[in-house]
């Protein structure tokens, strides 16, 4: 137990901050994923074949390629790409991107592909009459989306979004390969310096279980709240 003490003698505080880092990366990645979903869901639902193709390309490629490979692409290619863009604008110095940003972006793109599929499914399962009714009422396009489609879509998407959250939370463990100090990386460091990998990796597993358990409870209560009256 003294291995987990707070302060200089144990790893308690380090692991605590690592857990906060995992939560921070997961939430950032989830939000970045929503932005991607916001772009690609309309593309997938669009009537134009070429736009459709772009949307399908994104979800198929990202969901068919291992997460680790995507992370390596961002880790090794990320700063190169940013430097290339910067050089167009006449900035030629070396730019190093922070591991947190690279990591959340890589995981965000992955979680975005899953969110896109969830939102697409939710919109498709909204009753056609709702679209027609709002047209008949002459609602303007934005009001119709914000007040009619969005609330219904969120209710339908919530159970699947909580699955996406679980996947995203577990995927953040892969960012440890880039050196970002989250739960997995911190356990690796602690295991290396105390030569007690069994204890620290098992403790990491407990932390992840705790995170998934707590978030599941929270999301279930949200689901209940939003499915009132149905």
């Amino acid at each position: 137990m003294e291995l987990l003490a707070f302060g200089k003698t144990g790893w308690g505080d380090e692991l605590f901050f690592a857990t906060l880092m995992t939560i921070a990366v997961s939430i950032t990645a989830m939000i970045i994923g929503f932005f991607f979903a916001l772009i690609f869901t309309p593309l997938k639902l669009s009537k134009h074949k070429s736009l459709n193709l772009i949307g399908n390309f994104y979800t198929t490629v990202i969901r068919g390629v291992p997460e680790l490979l995507v992370i390596y692409l961002f880790f090794f290619g990320g700063s190169g790409a940013v430097m290339y863009v910067a050089s167009i604008f006449g900035y030629d110095d070396y730019i190093e991107i922070n591991a947190f940003i690279t990591g959340s972006f890589a995981i965000g793109i992955i979680s975005g592909a899953y969110s896109t599929e969830v939102f697409r499914g939710a919109i498709l399962s909204i009753d056609k009459g709702q679209f027609e009714a709002s047209k008949v009422l002459g609602l303007n396009k934005y009001i119709y989306f914000l007040k009619v489609i969005l609330p219904q879509m969120l209710r339908l998407a919530l159970p699947n979004l909580s699955n996406v959250w679980q996947i995203t939370l577990k995927d953040t463990s892969l960012i440890s390969v880039t050196g970002l100090v989250e739960i997995m990386r911190q356990s690796y460091i602690a295991a290396g310096s105390t030569r007690d990998p069994l204890f620290f990796y098992s403790f990491a597993a407990v932390l992840y279980l705790l995170l998934t358990y707590v978030s599941m409870k929270f999301l279930n209560s949200l689901e209940k709240k939003y499915s009132r009256g149905f």
């Binding site: 198929t60 490629v61 969901r63 068919g64 390629v65 291992p66 997460e67 680790l68 490979l69 390596y72 692409l73 090794f76 290619g77 190169g80 679980q166 577990k170 995927d171 463990s173 892969l174 440890s176 390969v177 997995m184 356990s187 690796y188 295991a191 030569r195 007690d196 990998p197 069994l198 990796y201 098992s202 990491a204 597993a205 992840y208 279980l209 998934t212 358990y213």
Partner: protein
């Protein structure tokens, strides 16, 4: 891009070996735990539920690290015959993958068993079939058909999961891709080649499942 292709292709063999072995053992584990989940004894039931909860609630990376780095730490464990298997990263990866996919498979199979209409089983009973015959000739074929789409997804998830073998020094497709990227600094080219190989395997699996679904449908 072209020079890296043969290397990546030979690494694909490693990935496919890892995938097929872990799916094979995972299916056995999944079937065992699905049957345990349906057991009426509350302790057996809870044990099987706990197993699938823990393995589905923690990242695969943690599971591999516990098995590969963690178990070797137990002095007693190193003296048993099991150590011959557990000192190899290759087998550690397969054991971790099999346990992980086994947890997901058990959930898929359990829900497939539970959605079988009781009428089918009653029909079998009234025909005087033995419990064994009902299980093998009625429940299993229906469960296979019901679980095929979900199991196809699980195969693809496992294919992506095998990439984690590269974290325990194995040179699978992702491992070799990372090695080439870090020596040549051409991340995008290598990503395109390795990614296409993964997508091609996904495509094959997808079509195989589609074919099987057709074969097992009633019509």
């Amino acid at each position: 891009m072209i020079t890296s292709f043969p290397k990546l292709l030979s690494a694909t063999v490693v990935t496919l070996k890892l995938l097929s072995l872990s799916l094979f053992f995972g299916l056995l584990i999944g079937l065992l735990f699905a049957i345990l989940r349906l057991n009426k004894n509350i302790f057996i039931n809870k044990f099987a539920y706990g197993y699938s909860y823990v393995f589905r609630g923690t990242p695969l990376l943690v599971q591999i690290f516990i098995i590969y780095f963690g178990l070797g730490q137990i002095e007693y464990f190193r003296s048993t015959f099991l150590w011959v298997i557990f000192k190899e990263p290759y087998w550690c990866a397969i054991i971790a993958f099999a346990l992980n996919t086994g947890a997901y498979t058990s959930e898929i199979l359990r829900s497939a068993f539970q959605t079988i209409k009781p009428g089918f089983i009653e029909a079998g009973k009234s025909l005087g079939l033995s419990n064994k015959t009902i299980f093998y000739k009625i429940q299993i074929p229906i469960a296979i058909k019901q679980s095929l789409p979900a199991y196809g997804n699980e195969i693809i998830l496992m294919l992506k999961g095998t990439s984690l073998a590269s974290t325990v020094t194995l040179l699978d497709l992702t491992g070799v891709a990372k090695y080439i990227i870090s020596t040549t600094f051409k991340p995008i080219e290598v990503f395109i080649v390795a990614g296409s190989i993964y997508l091609f395997i996904t495509f094959l699996v997808h079509n195989l499942i589609k074919y099987l679904e057709k074969k097992f449908s009633y019509q």
